[in-house]
Symmetry: C2
Subunit: 361 residues, 2 copies
């Protein structure tokens, strides 16, 4: 698999991002990485490493999207950016998938604009793997669409279902709707309407799931709008860090704490490994016509390596074709609804001429 990696994307780019690429090509036989970005800088960074040179190539891009720049600005004015070039390579079949740890809003908008949506997809969505007591679950949408209609959430469920089945080989993933009570009458206007759609679908819909139960392992795919999904993701990240800090602080305050901590340290390491987002590498944008993985800005080399692995896995399984198949014959938005939608503000995000409402992660 040929993976186009935005070498200039990420808080510690290009060095750490490139190091991730080199780890990937060293560890996985069938992966070739095309680094997009400033050739001079990439070459300089590569000189620090020994690696299988035949598995790395460089595709020059003269520009870099800065974190303060808007998706619409990037799409209109930075057509030679490292993100854009990575996606262009996929579009032109010179790469099988793209990975970026840069400006996630720009990466999503670029993937959407360049690769386009799959048939019957109204809104592509970010699908993130999160750890649970039983292993993991998929949260969709984790931040691509901040204001949604019930039909969008149904679509997220179908896309999450197809993705989960393809990646984890589970025939019929358990789909749940994130809400504030298990009963179908509990929730806001959006989730109550979505509940009806999911109940009438052919998905393995197990009902509403409450916030306190998402980590229980009872659901495989948890559906919500991107605003809530992003908040759930970030609250979880923040709380996990806070708990570890509080625990360390309390441990330091008891006399036997230091010694005890030394003794449980391997366990803490295992726990961290199990819950570390870098193990999952990044999150795909589902619903586009191709494979694009959005990675955390703070990505370590390990996270980049894993993102490349996920991209390669998705591309080789042709997950976007599986999703297209899943949605075949389905159109959750009839034309009347579409017209109404296109006339209001919510769809500005889909046009490169306006600011997209996508989230910078």
């Amino acid at each position: 698999m040929r993976i186009a990696l935005d070498a200039m994307g990420g808080d510690f780019a290009p060095d750490v991002t490139i190091a991730g690429a080199l780890e990937a090509v060293s560890e996985y036989d069938d992966i070739h990485v095309i680094l997009t970005g400033d050739r001079q800088k990439i070459t300089a960074s590569l000189q620090n490493w020994r690696y299988p040179t035949e598995k790395i190539s460089i595709y020059h891009a003269s520009e870099v999207v800065e974190m303060h720049e808007s998706p619409s600005f990037a799409l209109r004015r930075k057509k030679d950016s490292s993100i854009r070039k990575a996606v262009d390579l996929v579009k032109n079949h010179d790469a099988d998938a793209a990975v970026s740890a840069g400006h996630s809003g720009v990466a999503m908008a670029t993937a959407l604009f360049v690769l386009g949506k799959l048939p019957n997809v109204d809104r592509p969505a970010i699908a993130t793997i999160m750890p649970s007591l039983a292993g993991h679950f998929l949260l969709i949408d984790a931040g691509a669409n901040v204001d949604c209609k019930p039909e969008n959430l149904l679509e997220f469920a179908y896309m999450g279902n197809a993705y989960y089945r393809a990646i984890f080989n589970i025939e019929s993933p358990r789909i749940a709707l994130l809400s504030i009570g298990e009963e179908d009458t509990k929730g806001n206007e959006l989730t109550k309407e979505t509940f009806k759609l999911l109940k009438n679908s052919n998905l393995n819909f197990i009902g509403n799931i409450e916030g306190k139960d998402i980590f229980s392992g009872n659901a495989d795919v948890i559906v919500c709008d991107g605003f809530i999904g992003n908040i759930v993701l970030k609250v979880s990240e923040g709380l996990a860090e806070t708990i570890m800090k509080m625990l360390k602080h309390e441990i330091a305050n008891v006399t036997t704490g230091k010694l005890g901590y030394m003794m449980i340290k391997p366990a803490i390491k295992n726990f961290k490994k199990r819950t570390d987002y870098s193990e999952y590498g990044g999150a795909p944008l589902l619903g586009i016509n191709g494979t694009c993985i959005i990675s955390h800005g703070r990505s370590s080399a390990r996270a980049i390596k894993n993102a490349i692995r996920v991209a390669s896995d998705m591309a080789s399984k042709k997950v976007h074709e599986i999703i297209a198949n899943e949605l075949k014959g389905q159109n959750h938005f009839n034309s009347a609804v579409k017209i109404e939608f296109n006339s209001n503000k919510e769809f500005e995000g889909q046009s490169p001429s306006k600011d997209v409402s996508y989230v910078k992660g």
Copy 2:
């Protein structure tokens, strides 16, 4: 202070609920608790304990609201319930505050219906204290209103501000809006509009706060709609439990784990104490004309005791009058908007004849 306690409310009522009342009157000099509920059952439960009998009285209520009953049903058909009687006592000035660990949707609807809203309040909201690295913060709305307008969120901010100032003696609490990015352009339609209102208010508005930062201690009052607030609250509860389970599991898997765990156990105890919801006792419904504390269904005696303490503190400081004062001269909803609101479904919840959209916590 005379606190009316719904003795039949709570998963372990009446015994555990009553035990909490006895702890409260034993620990605090100036508190008298009126237990509302089945006199026979309460008397039987009281016989198990020694306590200052002059500080406990019983107010008979022949009915109990069951967990599956709707707020509208309870309001229309169970006028002699233990929840209703507790609130009635406040209404008739026979008690200074009410506390219930029963059906939280019913408790909120009853408080709203019997005590009424303060002038200029459109939607009362639940204010919950949550632990942070720096101590704690107030989350408002934690579950009362699932679909909100920007003006509602502004109102929550004012109510949270007044409450925080009164309870924690902080002159100018830092108010933040929960969103998916710090910039004012980040968020959904609701938060982007709310941002403008908060910026133009005289509150100490510090801007948007992301999910990962809510536990940092950078904000005193965090504003959001009740759907998101409830999910944040429950996700936090669930994740904290999950992390402790995962850690214990990992610790059990390393050879030196058992001994190490014994050594850090006092630290874990301190940590649990610091993050245990029962320390905060319960959450007030702000914006009603009186004091009513909604407690967790799973409340322990300690949680009930603390809820009684919070109720007493709020009543003695006359927090509802402080909130009324804060909102004096403010009407975030002009009459035109009000008419529009009353004509749509969202306000059904405010009428006892329809199901309220309040959350069962």
